[in-house]
Amino acid sequence: MMIDPLSVFILLLGAATPILFAALGELVVERAGVLNLGVEGMMIGGALAGFAAAHASGSPALGFVAAAVAGAALSMIFAVLTQFLLSNQVATGLALTLFGLGLTAMFGKPYEGVKAPPMLAGPLRLNLMIWLGLALVPAVWWFLMRSRPGLILRAVGENHDAAHALGYPVRALRMAAIGFGGALAGMGGAYISIATVLQWTEGMTAGAGWIALAIVVFAQWNPWGVLAGAWLFGGVTVLQLRLQAAGVAVPVQLLSMAPYLATIAVLVLISARQKFGRSGGAAAPGSLGRPFHALR
């Protein structure tokens, strides 16, 4: 029973795009030294805002812009709490997730069951957002690895005290990174509501934000690794449904678990090689998750 690999690849790209956006955003945030566990909340916030805007205006592009704004706005709450009020990043991020889920469930009521406007088509049967996602990977890589602002961001993430001593604006940079991460997560969430599912339902991101967080670790904080992780997860998800549809006699429950098992397996492998006491292993940014309190 042959399954056409090209059609699987195209479906895979679609499934990977929301996680890719969210993971790239979170990558930048974590490179700046902030652990934002609120990705799920920002994604679903973007999903609702994007859907509402796209529905109201008839333009999916406007929807994605609104989603980016909504995601950034939600992440700003996190930013103020962790950067100015010095709250615990893990707890605040989790709170943001729950807040985002609840808030969108409440405001999303009038949009349940409503249809989305048609998606922007792009070259090669792939819509524009897929292309944008693919383009973002080298863009983020170039920014982080080959540009001066990116270098400074990474420095802040590695050792925020040293960066502060050198005179870099640690808080401002982190705020900007968090905003960027939120915007991208919002757009990833909007992809789910506008392009994949074509409607809004509460809780529709169904854990995609958590997968994005895992992928950042899986990728060892490298944008190309994020791409590979998103494709792996998206690929296994799509493949298990295609295999079922093709009638392949692998136990269905195993196929359904496969994407999550793959993610766990990789994370275990990576953590097992950890030698240093840093959360996430040797490749993690040195100041990840630690609150920054300027001494002067």
């Binding site: 056409d4 409607q199 529709m204 295609r242 269905v252």
Partner: protein
């Protein structure tokens, strides 16, 4: 004012505001536990319509409450207990997965009556009710078999429980009757309601060449995907009219209102007893939604004629000769499947090549 005065007056205020609650024990409080959101446009939406019908019918004599999106499992027990503790005397739990939770809570609250949808465990204060969805599936299967151009029809299953297997078998049997070359592909979403998963499942089926999609999941996502791809589908549990005239060419509508109104009436006049009912098209519980112009008139006539024969009891969708998937005999010529057989159905009929999940 100092802190003591503030706390004291706040406590008094709360106590005072609780007093009016005692004044309203004349009304019958009816509770509803939903597995999905009322806005799903499918299963839960229909239950909520029925709830509204109860309110309309009995007006001031009842007060209804609902809790939506309750996950099946441990949390369900908490939600049902919450309703039982707050004075609800009749509670509808509207999904198969609430079965054990309902029985457990019913033991603790013997004076509260429970109605569990699509389950099979009853007790003195727990009744079960179910709808013969497979009758609706027979009609949908007929339309599917006639309308498919690729001879591949797809079914998005939720969980491999007898109810869903009945649906798959019934649709396949009747599609095959009108189209011997038809092939059935099944994808399991492992959820009653997960629009993203359902959309992915629909996309996977369409990529396999399916052009008619039947679903046992509750959202409109598969129809949205079908619309994109030019396939057709059917409304599930609810009419899903926003997708008329195509891709939704017809639908199975669960109409719980007559049953709910009847049972609430029985509690009000004291004649409620536990039972286990399984109602179908003939009882008005399963309705076939409007068959749109996208369906050729002769197919529409054929489908409606089948519906009438099922409604009158003249024809049973599971009538032999039928064999099981492994080739063994199941029903002899003219033999009809018993309710017992159906409610424990865990096999596909011959002709479906998809593997059955254990």
């Amino acid at each position: 004012m100092n802190r003591r005065t503030l706390l004291g007056s706040a406590a008094a205020l709360v106590a005072a505001s609780a007093l009016p609650a005692f004044a309203q024990d004349e009304k019958l409080k009816v509770g509803f536990i939903y597995v999905g959101p009322v806005g799903d446009g499918g299963w839960t939406y229909q239950h909520d319509l029925a709830r509204q019908a109860v309110e309309k019918e009995y007006g001031d004599r009842v007060e209804t409450t609902y809790i939506e999106s309750v996950p099946e499992g441990a949390d369900a027990e908490r939600a049902i207990t919450q309703l039982a503790l707050s004075g609800h005397k009749l509670i509808f739990t509207t999904s198969f997965g609430f079965m054990d939770a309902t029985i457990n809570v019913a033991k603790k609250f013997p004076d509260v009556k429970f109605e569990h949808a699509t389950g099979y465990k009853t007790a003195e204060n727990v009744a079960t009710y179910d709808a013969r969805f497979y009758e609706g599936r027979a009609v949908m299967g007929t339309i599917a078999g006639r309308m498919t151009k690729s001879n591949k029809i797809g079914y998005i299953g939720s969980f491999p429980i007898p109810e869903v297997v009945q649906g798959i078998n019934s649709s396949y049997i009747h599609a095959k009757k009108v189209n011997p070359d038809v092939e059935m592909k099944v994808v399991w979403a492992y959820s009653w309601f997960d629009p993203a998963k359902e959309a992915d499942a629909a996309a996977a089926l369409i990529a396999e060449g399916v052009d008619v999609i039947l679903q046992h999941t509750d959202s409109t996502a598969p129809l949205a995907k079908a619309q994109e791809a030019g396939a057709i589908g059917f409304g599930q549990a609810s009419d899903m009219a926003a997708f008329k005239p195509t891709p939704r060419v017809s639908s199975i509508i669960d109409n719980w209102a007559p049953y709910y109104v009847k049972r609430v009436g029985e509690v009000l006049d004291g004649s409620w007893t536990s039972h286990s009912v399984w109602l179908g098209i003939g009882d008005g519980e399963v309705e076939i939604g409007e068959i749109t112009e996208a369906v050729p008139p002769e197919v529409k006539e054929e489908a409606l004629a089948l519906k009438d024969r099922i409604a009158s009891g003249e024809y049973h969708p599971f009538t032999g000769p039928l064999k099981k998937q492994d080739g063994s005999d199941w029903l002899a010529e003219g033999q009809v499947a018993s309710d017992q057989d159906l409610s424990s159905m865990n096999f596909y009929v011959e002709g479906i090549t998809a593997p059955m999940p254990k």
